[in-house]
Amino acid sequence: MELATLRKRGIVAAIVTIFVLSIFAAVPLALTRANAQTTTSTSSGRDYINIGDLEYSSSIAVSSFNWFSPIEDYDLTELLYVGLFTIAFPPEPLVVPVLAQGYSVSANGTQSVINLRPDLKWSDGSPLNSTDLWYTMWLLNQTDHIPPPSSITILNSTAVQVTFPTPEYQFVQTQLASFDVVVVPYEIFGKLPVSEIDCTSTNLTCYSNFNDIVADGPYTLSNYTIGETPIALTANPYYFEGPPHLKNVYVYLYPSEESYVAAYKSDQLDAFWSYGAYIDIAPVVGFIDHTLIQSIPALTYAVLFNAFGKNYPFTDPSFRLALAYATNITQINSLENGPYANTSSSTEDSLIPTDNEELGLPPSGPIGYTYNVTEAENILTSNGFKLSGGKLYFSNGTAVSLQLAYESANPVSPDVAQLLATDWTQIGIKVTPKAEADSTIQSLTLGDTGWQVIIAGDTGLNVFGVTSGPGIATALSPYGYPASNGSTVYYNDTVGTWENDMDVYPQFSSQFNSTAVEIANAYVTQVPFIPLFNSFNWQSVSNDFYWGSPSNYTGIFNTQSTAQQQFYWDTLYQVAPLAAPTPPVTTTTTFPTYSTATTPTTTSVQTTSSAAPAASPAIPAIYLYVAVAAVIIVIAGVAATMIFRRRQ
């Protein structure tokens, strides 16, 4: 056969292959386009919404929908089950009933009566009543979630009384509301052994609650296969606030921030949720057809010290205080929260000023370390440290160095670690940042080895002064202070006493207040942690989607926003309805620092938020990259051709 013929065959084969592959790609392409057009044209009338959920730790599946399981998927479980109570932020009362209608505490604090709303129903239409609530309380006790009650009694079809042997004034707040305790159906859970429900069974069985879920939330699970997304949720016709207007919610799980952002920007999703600093949400800011919502605070980021045992110098309060003065909190906050830094200043005091005053504290709360390197150096040198040649030395001449661990998967932490390293280097300390897995950070803080200083975000840190809770124990338990007999007394014991005091005295009683002030003073004098900044819950929502009309209440807002409220950790609970679909509206709900204002402000602006600067358009830059790549290819091709020709 002639070579020319062979060439022709090769050309024909190549053309046919390309043609076949083009068809292969074109069919789904055309279908996708058709779908996209349909979506656009009916965006104001469709009965479903696509929502994403960033799952750093479970990219392909949710772990469990069983609230009692240690590995349950909080975000999604909260869509299916409504909490009895939730914690609100000022000016709302701290404890807000949701599924419950209310509660009362007896004068001596030993009896709490919880009332359910009347005529509640499970998603299968069966009544949700005090039997379910009684069983839930029993289960909470069996699984060590609440202090052991002496009795749990059904008073009527909606009320249950829990009696404790000792006063528990804060039971509803600290045990039910803080943990978003839900009611579970007795008919389903009651047939299972407790060890299977709380996943402590010795035969490794654990109730995941994946199939035939009977729930009370706005949505029920209509389709879930492990390993497949989206997870389909359907409106619960028996939801206590009425069935949600949106019939379906589809939830997509994302293993990385980048893919989540890409999905939202490409209109695969109608809403983007993020909890963290402003820089976490910044990648999606700047799209004029989207609305950015800043809502309730999420985590307080802070520097924690390993002050266990003999971990000098971290056991020395003066060393911790010096580090606090050497930390440029304003700069860190500005970097992380950008235009929202003024609403995210570092504070772990969530009290409104009047409450602070009632406790006998300054209105703005007790904590405040002003950035002052000289002050930090003075504290160190007056406590036995030596500064020489820009380096800090212990009294024995050894250079001071520390290892700063941070969460590797948290986008905020590496930047903060770098800034802290820069700050502390100014007072002569050699700082070595070290990335660790989130779970490692969590387990490290429980022990006294393997770490020195950690950057961590914790919701517990901002409950200071209000209540006992995990925050106090987490923050203060490792720290010791010298007793009058020369020994070291650890806050572990003191915290236990404090927690007890906070529970056995009514809120804002004199004993309660004095304990709160004692805790506040401990924070100031002991510097158990250095508060850095608050992060927030953020949503960016597509304005292409019809979010509802304030005039006729046809959309997802206000009471109907509970679908979102559950999903976004209560964040849209207080968000005003969005006008739809144009002009673009930016609704910003901000919670200012209480040192400067007393109430949160809600603003609606008929433009893109001035506080949220528009991101520079990315497309031209990309096309520039493509053009550069194309030029490189052409130049390389021409050069290669010339080289080959010369050789020949």
């Binding site: 056969m1 060439r7 065959r9 090769g10 084969a13 190549a14 292969f24 789904p28 392409l29 996708t32 479903y48 730790s57 479970s58 990219s59 392909i60 599946a61 772990s63 240690p70 590995i71 060590d144 979630h145 402590t200 069974s201 010795t202 490794l204 654990c206 995941s208 492990i226 390993g227 497949e228 997304t229 989206p230 389909a232 589809y250 997509y252 994302y254 293993p255 990385s256 893919s259 989540y260 890409a262 999905a263 490409s266 695969q268 897995a437 779970s439 490692t440 969590q442 429980l446 995990p470 990315a618 497309i619 990309i622 493509v626 290819i633 390389a636 091709g637 050069a639 290669a640 051709t641």
Partner: protein, 296 residues
Amino acid sequence: MPGNFAEIYASQLASLHHISYRIAYERVATLLGLGQPLYVQFLTYLHEVLFSFPPNFGPSFEFYPIPAWTIVFLALRWTLLLLGTAIVISLALGLFIGIFLATHKNKSIDRAAQPTFYFLNSIPQFWLGILFIIIFAIDLHILPATQAQSISANPPDILAHMVLPLAVIVLTTAPGYALIVRGAAVDTLGSDFLYATKAQGLRRRRLFLRILRNSLLPIVTNIALSMGYLIGGVITVELVFAYPGLGSLIQSAVVTEDYPIMLAIFYITTLIVLLSNLAADLIYPILDPRVSYVSS
């Protein structure tokens, strides 16, 4: 080795159940049989992996108590779909383009194609993936940026979600195959047996098939040897496109220190590489009669 599931699980139990960490850890240790001697634990583990079907790597830490193998198998389906399709298309393109270039040896198109293909072959897949997402999904809105399926999980929908990751893999692997095939085809075209075959008056179609078959040998070897690399490469592509395959899974397993999942993935990856090498060895005699495993 960083991470300890018992400690992590115990800390979760402790914080959720308001019990002390020590009590929680004791419960977890009993639950997982950590009280047994280390060698007994290891032998039990080996027995479960080697003599159970499917292999029992224990429960996933992240998806406890779902077995790690079940989670890996779920992800494997998507990886095999993506990787399998990509290999078939890359192979087809590589073969035809390679032969085409061989038959146009030293012509302008051949000279231009070679550096271009080297360039394409060296592009990082994650970079190309991000570029494709920005252009085709975010800017043009013609293809989905992420995931493997949407609400209507029908074949066209799954194909639509596969186009971008597939294009990335094909664009970065097919040029390599094309260059290998080109080299092999150039050798074949200049070989004596081809002249002899022509002289015998063999039909054109059969002649073409002979060139094809002789050019296949190096590429079969290459695919078998590079299977591990291909699986490694697809991991980054899956991450960029949030494709729910082994790539996304191993990323989350590393982040959460989910060792059973990691071990199951390494096990199955090793198995795939070994089996593909075995398959390559078995295919050789079919493609080239000179290779035989039967002693004369």
